[in-house]
Structures are given as C-alpha cells and as structure tokens.
C-alpha cells in the first residue's frame, strides 16, 4: 500500500509517495528541505535569492554556491541539448510579458506588461544569449541585458534531488512530484494521474517507473495582460508565448530534468516535436490543440 502526502509550495502541488506510512513524515521533510535550499539559491521571485543578486548585477562575475552552479550548469546543458529551445535567459522576456512575480499573485489581477523587451519587435537583434553566459566552477557571469530564469529545469532538478534524498533517508523506493514534475527511485511501479493542468480533476491513469516524468502545457500558468491571456512557455526565437500545434506534452526520461527539458522543447518545437522525441527514444504523449493525442517513442496504452 502506498502512502502519499500532498501540500502546496512554490505555488504548486507537491507530493511524496513511499511504500510505508511510517516513512511519510521523514520523506516529506526531506522534500521540503530540498525545496527550501533550491528556493534560496535559484528563485527568480525572492529578492534575497542568489539568483536575484546575479540578475541584479549582470556583466559582473559572481561567486555562487555549488547548488546554484549545478542548477545553472543543468540549465545550460538543457539549452545545449535542445539547441536553445529550452533557454534559461528568458527572464527578461517573461518580465516583459508581465510574469514578474509568483504566479499565485499574478493570477489575481489583470496587469499591464512591465518594461520593454516583450516580443520580437521589441527585442534588440544583438541581444546576448545563453551561449554568452559564463560559468567557470562557481563563478557565474551573466551578460548585460540578460536575466536568468531557471524555473523549468530547477523545478525538475529539485524533484530529482528530492526523490534521491527520500530514498536515502527511508532506505526504500520513493516518488516525488513538484508541480507535476515527477521523479521516482527504488525500482517499483507507481500509479499516477496525468492531467493537463493542476486544476484538472480527471486525467489519464498511468503506471510509471524509475526516472522522470514531466508535462509541459500551454494551458497552465496563464495570466492576463490588457485583456490578452498569456502563458509561461516562451518561444526563445520570438520572445512570445508559444503558439504551436501542441498544447500539452508529457515525456518520460531517465531523470526528471531530462523529461522536463524534452517536454518543454517539444512544445516549443511544434511540428517537429514528435520526430525529435522519437529519434531520441523518449516516450512521449502529445496533445494537439484540438485535443487529439499522439503517442511516440514507446509510450503505450493498455487495450481497453
């Protein structure tokens, strides 16, 4: 019998599951601890985070913690492996689009966009990119005009680290979900729900195993500016919210970071996504704008 506990943090739902109820409390504390240290290092919304200090002073070399260095390195890896489709330097674009605070606070009000730089028309053609971010050991330099947003990969990295931490403190299998990014360790199967948004109460039933499972959706994290609804998945090529053929993509991979990287890239890639995922042997489920579903890379469905 699986024991599960669920709570809210980072404005998202967090869950941890372990086989034995007595391990649940220690498991939850391990997850909360991982989230707390990552938040202090990599939050874009905390004025006292390490990342905020880096973003506040671009063009300078900052000595950062090994944790933030690992998170930045992961984000740059994700950019490299997706040819920039998953881009950690979109912080300025997101702020320009109005996403300048925690989504929980953002959803309460309709706001005007903040500053310039939102959308291709307002982007300087010489804007620095993720390739210009310099990371040498624990020394990080972000070029002028660039603001880091590690949101996607840092959340997935936290899920991976938290699942590993729970496995260590309980000595057994564990499944951790941080805002829909799942990481599992311990060699057993887990029943989970697959939904497009956190609010969706139905969804598909899924059996998943060790590794990561992530879902990216244009239906989630939406806000309204001047009557126009926007979402958080920004196309690095345009600086605007993705407007492609896939509204939701779920991917399974060896780690949650890999799954999240691939699901985000797939939404951005659009028409090329299915082949891109299949070529890499990544099991994926893509939901088109009309709700039709495409399964690739070995993602299977039981016969009814």
């Amino acid at each position: 019998m699986t024991a599960v506990t669920t709570w809210t943090d980072w404005s998202c739902t967090v869950s941890v599951a372990v086989p034995d109820e007595p391990d649940l409390a220690v498991a939850r504390r391990a997850v909360a601890s991982e989230m707390a240290v990552m938040d202090a290092a990599a939050s874009r919304f905390r004025a006292d985070s390490e990342l905020a200090a880096v973003n506040a002073a671009p063009g300078r070399a900052h000595r950062i913690s090994p944790l933030l260095a690992g998170a930045v390195r992961t984000a740059l890896d994700a950019a490299r492996l997706t040819d920039g489709m998953v881009d950690p330097t979109l912080g300025g674009d997101l702020v320009g689009l109005g996403y300048d605070r925690d989504i929980h606070d953002l959803g309460r009000t309709s706001r005007r966009p903040v500053g310039a730089g939102h959308g291709r028309d307002n982007r300087p053609s010489t804007r620095a990119t993720w390739r210009d971010v310099r990371l040498a050991g624990c020394r990080l330099t972000v070029p002028e005009g660039v603001s880091l947003d590690l949101g996607a990969t840092a959340k997935a990295l936290t899920a991976d680290r938290a699942a590993g931490a729970v496995g260590r403190v309980t000595g057994g299998p564990a499944l951790v979900s941080v805002g829909g990014d799942l990481a599992a360790v311990g060699g057993i199967g887990w029943d989970v729900l697959l939904a497009e948004t956190p609010e969706e109460v139905t969804g598909e039933s899924l059996r998943t195993y060790d590794g990561g499972l992530a879902t990216s959706s244009t239906l989630a994290r939406r806000w309204t500016v001047d009557g126009t609804e926007r979402h958080h998945l920004v196309d690095p090529r345009t600086g605007r919210p993705v407007d492609g053929p896939w509204r939701t993509v779920s991917v399974a991979a060896r780690t949650c970071v890999a799954a999240n990287t691939a699901s985000t890239a797939a939404v951005v890639l659009g028409a090329e996504a299915a082949a891109w995922l299949d070529t890499r042997g990544l099991p994926a489920r893509l939901v088109a704008r009309d709700g039709s579903v495409l399964r690739v890379g070995g993602w299977t469905r039981e016969a009814a």
Partner: protein, 111 residues
C-alpha cells in the same frame, strides 16, 4: 638471405630494448593491479555494514559536487558541461484503462 647492416643491428637492438621495457611495464601494472585489488577487497571486507537511514533532522540537501573554483573565465569550458543527457527511461510509462483506486495519487501535469 637478408643482409644486416650496422644500422639494422642498432635498430633491432632498440626494438628489443623497447619490447623489454614494455613487458616490464605490463608486469609492474599487473602487480600493482593485483595489490590494488587485494587492498580493495580488504577494504570491502573491513567496511562496517551500511549505516541505517539518518533521522530527518540530519537531512542535509545533497549539494552537487563543487567544481574547481578556479577555471577559465573567458568561456564556459567543455568540462563545465554537466551530466544531463536526454535518454529514455529503462521502462516506459503505460497508460491504463482503469483509474487508481484512490484519489490522492501524485500527478504529472503542466504547472
């Protein structure tokens, strides 16, 4: 029959010398490996049993290993790349036709 010149003899002697040194190196390496393996086995045998899971109060986040503090700053060097690889899982997830018996199962979703 092959006619040997003085130069040929010198070259042959050098070849024999190199071969001899190579054989000696292999012998040293094999001996070292045996010693290392013996020491490793001894270490394993001497190791205490695996420690019990730590109480939660001692849970400390596993911080990624600190890379060298002093490295090239002109660019992100190749060795700065992490270990991220876009690889599929050992076992792919499987959509089921029956829903979980309980409502509180973890979920994957856009967030």
């Amino acid at each position: 029959m092959q006619q040997w010149t003085p130069d040929d003899r010198v070259r042959a002697a050098r070849r024999r010398d190199r071969a001899s040194r190579a054989v000696a190196a292999v012998g040293v390496a094999a001996t070292t490996g045996t010693v290392a393996a013996t020491l490793g086995l001894a270490a394993v045998l001497a190791a205490p049993p695996e420690a019990a899971p730590a109480p939660v109060t001692s849970v400390s986040p596993t911080v990624p290993a600190a890379p060298p503090a002093d490295g090239p700053t002109a660019a992100t060097a190749p060795e700065e790349q992490g270990s991220l690889a876009l690889q599929g899982p050992d076992k792919a997830p499987r959509e089921r036709t029956t829903r979980p018996k309980r409502a509180d199962v973890p979920r994957t979703s856009g967030s």
